[in-house]
Amino acid sequence: MKQAVYGLGLYVFLCLPPVVTLVESIMSFHMHVQMPLLIIVGILMAPFFQKKLSGFFENWNHNGVPGILLFTIILAYWMMPRTMDEALTIHAVEIFKFISLPFLAGVPLRDSWRKLGKMGKNVIYIVFSIMFGFMGWLYVAAPTQLCNNYLIVEQKTLGWGFLAFALCIIIYFIQLLFIDESEYE
């Protein structure tokens, strides 16, 4: 349960107004620091919910597929330029971000990950590297401003950030294919 407390601490820190203002002032920090950290909050808090609502997770996320699907939908939603823009201008959307990313993406991710088989995990690595690669291309190549709140240069930076993320996933995936962790048990 220690992890859940750390998660709560991180959540409170991320909710502090000066922190929110600072990380949202730079586009790539908004998407590539704040949002992943919110997901990590959920990942850390997951054991608490798994313990309290074990029946719920057993009924609705038996094989991990619904959870990972929910995670993917939430992430895909927050990758749209418009949603990030709205989070800055519409209060309700900002609140939704702070609820959806930890509790509808982070928590289901942790609950699903162990339940997924090797095949399922590989699909996720591939899907997300393609998705991040596509987003990278979109943000780098788009000639117009996609978000009202951020300049084109920030958009391009975010694009390169997506490509870096995609590269990280690909490297990790490839090393998983070549290194058999069980050999080092």
């Binding site: 600072l22 002032s25 730079i26 790539s28 920090f29 590539h32 620091v33 240069v153 391009k156 930076t157 390169w160 950030g161 870096a164 993320f165 590269l167 990280c168 996933i169 490297i171 990790y172 090393q175 998983l176 290194i179 962790e181 050999e183 080092y184 048990e185």
Partner: protein
């Protein structure tokens, strides 16, 4: 039967005491060259210190700035790189049961590449074609051959890195289920960090070469600086990495103690690899061209490096206290008396550790905007640097020499050389106290760094710096004596010391130590996290500097 038993016994003793002569030759060659470089660099340091204090006029054909460039590059890049490769190759040879022949070849190739590079760099500096100071970023432009020399040095470092990774990977394949021995784990971490850190500077130098040849007219100065510092600060932490590997693994054994915690040491390695590279940004905290918000976030990046250092400080002093108490120490600080102060193998790294307390604190102070503005580009920075690298790192390196060379040459450290070593350590410490202390103080008063002696037309403020600069020169002289003593000790231990058996001291874990978790070996994950953190730190400034590039700068020759 008796013969067979004897053979087994011999094999066992060889395993415990022996060293592969081929591996020993490789490391000893590295060390010989490293200490020749130290001697040349130290001599240049003395000339520099005396000139800076106004006591010595350097000739026009070899001026202060040439001396500074050569002193910096020889000691900061070459000495440390040679030492690091030699030391870690010896560590791997010992802990992994000998180097694999192909890895040994990589070690020799690395040495060849580094020497070619060093020769090119030194020749261009002596010819006064590359007086660009050791930071070598534009708009000051050196001869293209200077930059090509740097490429060779980097290629040498990469060859050595490949050797370390290869040896570790093959050992892991042959020893399934076992953790890489801690010292080799440090080697993998240190070389991984060196590799990640050198990517930026390689890109920088590859941009500078066409510019230096005149094929491109201008160069993006801010981008070059950013790429340089992604390497510059990381390099400092690579040496620190090398030093703490000895603190964690060797020092406890020398004082008769045990490892504090294998897991903690490995976590420190992992954290240093992941967090380090973006820390270099604090060197640009007063540079124009970056937003305030970005600089503010980079303070976190810089300070995060302090975290594993504080863990190290805790672990080391815990080992000292535990060992002292086991030997019957009483009271709050009674264990201090139980430490083997008369053993130079302990004294040198111990002073190195103590020096790291003010050195690290000074470093933390410089990470933030306001304090950095006070000391930026003043002699304070040079003082800080000499305290961290010149004392913490180098004294640890010296401490390693007293057992590693006798181990490799199958000789012994005599009480006489031990005594001389203590004198050397004290001379070095006092010299550094004077020199680095004076630099810190006069830096606070505004004296600039990288400047030949000048009174700025007898300006009162500049004249008030003189007494401090005098102390700087006295310290520099003591340090030069220290260099001479150390070079003598190293070569004496290599060729003259009496034959005997010296142990490679590796601390054992405590009897009740918990097992090291398997996740510490997940290098794939650490590499990916390091790349993610580097991209988090550097994408924003670099894309901005490329997309909104300032007008490129033509070359400048300021000398």
């Amino acid at each position: 039967m008796e013969m067979a038993a004897k053979e087994i016994f011999k094999e066992k003793t060889n395993k415990a005491l022996g060293v592969n002569p081929d591996d020993a030759r490789l490391t000893l060659t590295y060390f010989s060259l490293a200490f020749i470089v130290l001697f040349i660099g130290g001599t240049l340091g003395l000339l520099q210190g005396l000139n800076r204090a106004g006591l010595l006029e350097l000739p026009a054909w070899f001026n202060y700035y040439q001396v500074l460039t050569a002193h910096g590059i020889l000691l900061i890049l070459i000495f440390t790189a040679l030492f690091m490769v030699g030391y870690f190759y010896a560590a791997m040879s010992h802990t992994l049961g000998g180097l694999i022949p192909s890895v040994r070849k990589m070690g020799w190739t690395a040495l060849g590449l580094m020497l070619i590079g060093t020769a090119m760099v030194v020749i261009t500096i002596v010819m006064d074609e590359a007086t660009v100071l050791y930071t070598f970023y534009p708009p000051m432009q050196a001869s293209p051959w200077f930059y090509i020399g740097l490429v060779f040095i980097v290629l040498g470092v990469w060859a050595a890195t490949l050797g370390v990774f290869t040896n570790a990977a093959i050992w892991k394949k042959r020893n399934k289920g076992q953790h890489l021995p801690l010292l080799s784990f440090f080697a993998v971490g240190a070389f991984l960090l060196l590799f990640l850190g050198s990517i930026g500077v390689t890109i920088e130098v590859l941009m500078l070469i066409p510019w230096a040849f005149g094929w491109t007219e201008t160069v993006n100065v801010m981008l070059s600086r950013t790429l340089f510092w992604s390497f510059g600060h990381t390099l400092v932490n690579v040496w620190y990495f090398t030093a703490i590997s000895a603190w964690y693994v060797i020092v406890p054994r020398i004082i008769g103690g045990r490892l504090f915690s294998d897991t903690l040491a490995r976590v420190v390695v992992i954290l240093l690899v992941i967090l380090n590279v973006p820390g270099g940004f604090h060197h640009q905290i007063v540079d124009p061209g970056f937003t305030e918000g970005l600089k503010f976030m980079h303070v976190f990046m810089s300070l995060s490096i302090a975290f594993p250092s504080l863990m190290t400080a805790f672990a080391m002093f815990a080992v000292f206290e535990r060992t002292g108490r086991k030997e019957g120490a009483k009271g709050l600080l009674g264990w201090v008396k139980k430490l083997p102060w008369g053993d130079v193998r302990f004294l040198a790294p111990m002073i190195a550790m103590i020096a790291f307390i003010p050195a690290g604190a000074g470093g933390i102070a410089q990470t933030n905007n306001q304090l950095n503005q006070v000391v930026h580009n003043s002699l304070w920075v040079t003082g800080h640097f000499h305290l961290t690298v010149g004392t913490t790192v180098v004294l640890t390196f010296f401490g390693i020499m007293y057992w590693l060379i006798p181990y490799l040459t199958k000789r012994e450290l005599t009480p006489k050389i031990n005594k001389l070593g203590i004198i050397q350590t004290i001379t070095w410490t006092v010299g550094m106290l004077f020199m680095s202390g004076a630099m810190h103080l006069v830096g606070l008063l505004g004296s600039p760094r990288r400047t030949s002696y000048t009174t700025y037309g007898d300006n009162a403020t500049a004249l008030s710096w003189d007494p401090y600069l005098f102390f700087l020169a006295i310290g520099g002289t003591l340090l030069f004596i220290g260099v001479v003593l150390m070079v003598y000790i190293v070569f004496h231990l290599m060729f003259k010391a009496p034959k005997g058996n010296t142990e490679f001291p590796i601390a054992e874990p405590e009897d009740d130590a918990s097992t090291t978790p398997k996740w510490t070996e997940r290098w794939g994950l650490w590499v990916v996290l390091a790349i993610a953190v580097i991209s988090m730190g550097y994408l924003v400034p670099i894309v901005d500097l490329v997309v909104n590039a300032p007008p490129g700068s033509p070359p400048f020759r300021t000398w």
